[in-house]
Amino acid sequence: MSGISAAACLLLFAGHPPAHSALASAGPQAARIESLWWLFFWVCSAVFLLVMAALAVGLVRDRTPEEAGAAPGPIPPEARRRRTRVVAVATAITALILFVFLFASTGTGRAIASLSRSDRSDAMTVEVTGHQWWWEVQYIDPVPGQRVTTANEIHIPVGRPVRIRTASHDVIHSFWVPSLHGKRDLIPGHDSEDFWLQADRPGVYRGQCAEFCGHQHAHMAFLVIADPPDRFAAWLDAQRQPAATPATPQALRGQDLFVHLQCALCHAVEGTDAGGRVGPDLTHVASRRTLAAATLPNTRGHLSDWIVDSQRIKPGNPMPPTRLAGEDLESILAYLESLK
Amino acid sequence: MSRRADLDVSGLPSVVYGPRASLWWGVVGIMAIEGTMFAILAASYFYLRGGAVEWPPTDVRHPGLGITTFGLAILLASILPMHWAAKAAEREDLKGIRLWLIVSTVLMVAFLVVRGLVMRSLTFRWDSHAYGSLVWTAAGLHTVHVVTGTCENLLFLALLDRGPVEDKHMLDLRLNSLYWYFVALSWVVFYCIFFLDPGLLKMR
């Protein structure tokens, strides 16, 4: 398992960055928007070239004979009538193009919305809460014990729409996975309408906060990981388990330190006394691909750097530097790494 | 070059009234700006009200239709003497101007006293909730306008006392009245939404 995640990290950060482009769509909504984009792009390009061509030709043409030696003033009536016709036609074409755009745009809007209109009472609901500066992700389940809380990583099954319910309790954030869908602002005090995500291909899709939300707006990313349904089910099942009991004495010591030092004030680990809700839930932290809201690959070295002085990595983030003796740090790292 | 025809304007007057005067446009411009501001404040009220769970909040008690209507009546009544002052200015009747300015100033001060009583009787403050913020801000902005209007009247009274009074001041006086109509009438809107709204009347 650790081999797989290490390989995934390599894959993730070495050769193939996760897709995060509106022009590399991997879901039905982004694909719709992408085709709309290309319609707009080609028509607008043509319009631009035509206008520039008209301007260029106009610049090099000679004056009409009747105007050649004329005093400055209005354009002669003859030429004026011709030009009035041309301008009127050009205006009519402009209006026509805009109507085409309007219909295409409204049509795409409907198509995007239709994903949510069909009855999907069985669909999975994921609650995404924006925090300064990370994402809390909860998989809703009628059975309270079956709820899964994780952070900065949203796993979804390929080919199935997933209902996303967003919220924010501090400032405005904006949820955006360019390869899957457009963005949605998370506005404190506004329960926004649910929306839907669907990935048609397995893969890792990067998302990032799109509304300026303070100092570390730049480091508030997340990953959407689309897996085949069976792998997704396995993942969800693993996440439902409480944290693994530490197997080595070092990790056990790490757990003890974690629960009794300041860590537990902000972080929770299911199955232990650590129940802080300020920072990300760490129950399965070692299973995640990244740290610090998709800022660092999840390796021991980065984890250590982050714990010792996260302010060097994300200046202004709420996690204070932690002074730890070398041995204590090693124990905590061993513990956290055991939280698969 | 041939001799030009001249456009002789020496016979034209130098003080005119109404939209002919530049200053009229200046004052109307200010009224447009402040009117827009009041309109947007009223729009904000309805926007917040539309999104509210309970409006007004439970701790809000109506200050009483009697005293608020009385205040509005004084304010509207002050329009009359201001109008007569403007008429007197048209005739360059300094005595008339003084009389009506004094009458209207007394009414303005009376209104300010009533305004003070109403605000004191409110069961909430600007920092109680958004409703409170709206009421206090609207009343505050309007009070600033009324105080300014009162001060302008006092300034004109001082001018009438000390001199010199120039022909141009007759225009100023008329525009002063025009502006006052705006200040007085703009409260009608807020009176209606804060005190007369049937939904809010029930809350007593």
Binding site: H20, R32, W37, F40, C44, V47, F48, V51, A54, G58, L59, R61, D62, R63, T64, P72, G73, P74, I75, R83, T84, A90, T94, A104, S105, G109, S174, K183, I187, P188, G189, H190, A210, E211, F212, G214, H215, A218, P315 | R4, A5, L7, V9, L12, S14, V16, P19, S22, I33, M37, I40, S44, Y47, L48, L155, G163, V165, E166, D167, H169
Partner: protein, 646 residues
């Protein structure tokens, strides 16, 4: 036709057998105080104040440009540690606020205060003292913002300061308060200028300049001024609400107490979208002025042009929600705003077509100002087309708040506004200073600016589509955004170099420039009929107008206005529709009170940042200044109704 011939026409106004006595009297009456210090604080001349506006705004432009360049340096490579997040937040906030509130609007309105009275043939603005006051308040706002930035108290919540981030809970300290008060300062200033311009344009036009003969540049300022009057109160009110939420605990934007964060967005963009047109419409006027001068033709389709300006002004108020598509508003409502946002392309299109029709086969002289106008066509058309894309809700959901939008609005604002402005400054520089700029350096600066601009901002479209959000102070290497960002930074360097050449050109011309003469370009509006720089009273005799191009349609025996008194600052007021002579007004002369009032306003707003009692403290100097402003000094030689009592 040579330029010399046109000069002859222009000279005519100044009077053939010059009435030296009249000139001497006017000079005495309209004199600017000779003591420079006194002149600085008491001057009410629209030309001096207009130049002051332009220069001050250009200083802020340079400051805002330096901030932009620092941001580009930071973004040139991934994970750069040049500028930290805190400073970066201040930089982009102050950059945006400077460019919108301290550069673009003031320079457009300031240039208007310089040019409008000259173009419509009068001696000053309708309210000269108000004009001085506007300048002082604007300056105070600008200084406040930069004192903030240089003391590490620069606002850092973005130029549209969304709550709750800018509210009391998430932006403690005074940073956002400084921003909110700066907004109030500059809005007061712009509103005062707008009322001044509207009145001047409506009432002080030369006889014969009926509504359908007003130069297009003046029309553009008229429409802009109306937009200011109805748009800016929204932001004044919302910045007041924000300041009160922060300072006296009101709850306008606090959802826990019945407030609403979206209210801020509605109010801000109800102002913010018209604001774009407030910056852009005067530039359209500049384009028309330059085009007609260099094609030696009246701009084609006057009525269509005017109606387009007016239509833009109206539709501009119906677009604000397209800044809020991502907030999840109901679909029906957003379709309306999509339609409106797309429809505004029609009046813009009509204007582009009319200008093209003007240029068509005119063999224009390709001087620097015209090059800037051609650059405007290229860039603005791209910006307009990406604007149409942003009007589409689905596309907007993808590119909103990304570098695509950054690219779009720089194409619209720099291309649509700064290019014409640079062309316009080049065009009117001879009029303002009496000196001509170097064409060689002018062309060099144009090409540097044009190439630098496109290199900087074109790649940003791609960056936005590739998922780069705006306002991030850094990004990870694996995002793949590094190359295009580096390209943009190189472009910014070239752009900066081009602007440097522009300013060096101006500095050199001021010292060694060739004398300009009255009408170096052979243009058609009234300002070219008088000396460069114009005398303090503008026209020896106020002109009359017989056609749309005041100078080109001027007849041999064109009448001039006589009978205005030259021993007091008398101007002619005409009626609104037909500009027939109506009455004579007397304008005030130099006075210190606008400055004192400006100071009082500054005291009010700045102390209010620290204590609500500031409002009362500041009321005292304001009241004193207002009384002194109003109190008759008897220097206007008006008819006295009642003598001063001894």
């Amino acid at each position: 036709m040579s330029i010399a011939e046109v000069d002859d026409i222009g000279q005519g106004w100044a009077g053939e057998d010059a009435d030296a006595e009249e000139r001497r009297r006017l000079e005495k009456t309209w004199k600017v105080p000779s003591n420079p210090l006194r002149a600085w604080f008491t001057n009410v001349d629209h030309k001096d104040l207009g130049k002051r506006y332009v220069v001050t705004a250009l200083v802020f432009f340079v400051l805002g440009g330096i901030e932009a360049f620092l941001m580009r340096l930071q973004l040139a490579r991934p994970e750069s540690r040049l500028i930290g997040p805190d400073r970066y937040g201040q930089l982009f906030t102050v950059h945006g606020s400077t460019m919108m509130f301290l550069f673009a609007v003031p320079i457009m309105l300031g240039l208007g205060t310089y040019l409008v009275p000259l173009m419509i043939g009068t001696r000053n603005l309708a309210f000269p003292r108000l004009n001085a006051f506007s300048y002082w308040v604007y300056l105070a706002g600008g200084l406040l913002l930069y004192v903030g930035l240089f003391t590490n108290t620069g606002p850092d919540a973005g130029w549209f300061a969304y709550v709750p981030l800018s509210g009391p809970g998430f932006s403690p300290g005074k940073r956002v308060d400084i921003w909110a008060q700066m907004i109030t300062f500059t809005e007061i200033s712009s509103l005062a200028v707008a009322v001044n311009l509207i009145t001047t344009i409506f009432k002080h036009r030369a006889p014969g300049m009926s509504l359908n003969r007003i130069p297009l540049y003046v029309w553009s300022l008229l429409v802009t001024s109306f937009m200011v009057v109805f748009a800016m109160p929204a932001v004044m009110l919302s910045s007041l609400m924000l300041a009160m939420d922060r300072l006296v605990d009101t709850h306008f934007f606090n959802p826990a107490e019945g407030g609403d964060a979206l209210l801020w967005q509605h109010l801000f963009w109800f102002f913010g979208h018209p604001e774009v047109y407030i910056i852009f419409i005067p530039a359209l006027g500049i384009v028309s002025s330059i085009l007609s001068a260099f094609t030696r033709r009246e701009v084609f389709g006057y009525l269509a042009m005017v109606m387009s300006l007016v239509a833009t002004g109206f539709i501009g108020f119906g677009l604000w929600v397209h800044h809020m598509f991502a907030t999840g508003l109901p679909q029906l409502g957003t379709s309306f705003f999509t339609a409106a946002s797309m429809m505004i392309a029609i009046p813009s299109g009509i204007q582009i077509f009319c200008w093209t029709a003007t240029l068509w086969g005119s063999r224009p002289r390709l001087k620097t100002p015209l090059l800037y106008v051609l650059g405007f066509f290229f860039i603005f058309v791209i910006g307009g087309l990406t604007g149409v894309m942003l009007a589409s809700v689905p596309l907007d959901l993808q590119v909103h708040d990304t570098f695509f939008v950054v690219a779009h609005f720089h194409y619209v604002l720099i291309g649509g506004s700064v290019f014409p402005l640079l062309g316009g400054l080049f065009f009117w520089f001879p009029k303002m200073t009496g000196r001509r700029l170097s064409e060689g350096m002018g062309k060099l600066s144009f090409w540097l600016v044009f190439i630098g601009f496109n290199l900087t901002f074109f790649p940003m479209h791609q960056l936005g589509l590739d998922g780069m959000p705006r306002r991030i102070y850094t990004y990870l290497p694996e995002t793949g955004w590094g190359t295009l960002n580096l390209l943009a930074t190189v472009g910014a360097g070239i752009l900066g170099l081009g602007l440097l050449v522009f300013f060096v050109n101006a500095a050199q011309a001021l010292r060694h420039g060739e004398a300009a003469g009255n009408d170096p370009w052979g243009a058609d509006t009234l300002e070219w009929a008088i000396a460069s720089p114009p005398p303090s009273y503008n026209f020896l005799r106020l002109p009359t107008v017989a056609g749309r191009s005041a100078l080109w349609s001027r007849r041999e025996d064109q009448a001039e206005v006589t009978g205005l008194r030259s021993d007091r600052r008398e101007v002619l007021v005409t009626n609104l529709l037909d500009a027939e002579p109506d009455h004579r007004d007397v304008l005030p002369g130099p006075t210190i009170w606008p400055f004192i009032l400006g100071l009082g306003v500054a005291v009010t707003f700045i102390t209010a940042i620290f204590t609500p009692w500031g409002v009362l403290i500041g009321a005292v100097p304001c009241a004193v200044a207002l009384v002194a402003w109003f109190w008759p000094r008897g220097d206007m030689d008006r008819e006295v109704v009642m003598e001063k009592r001894s």
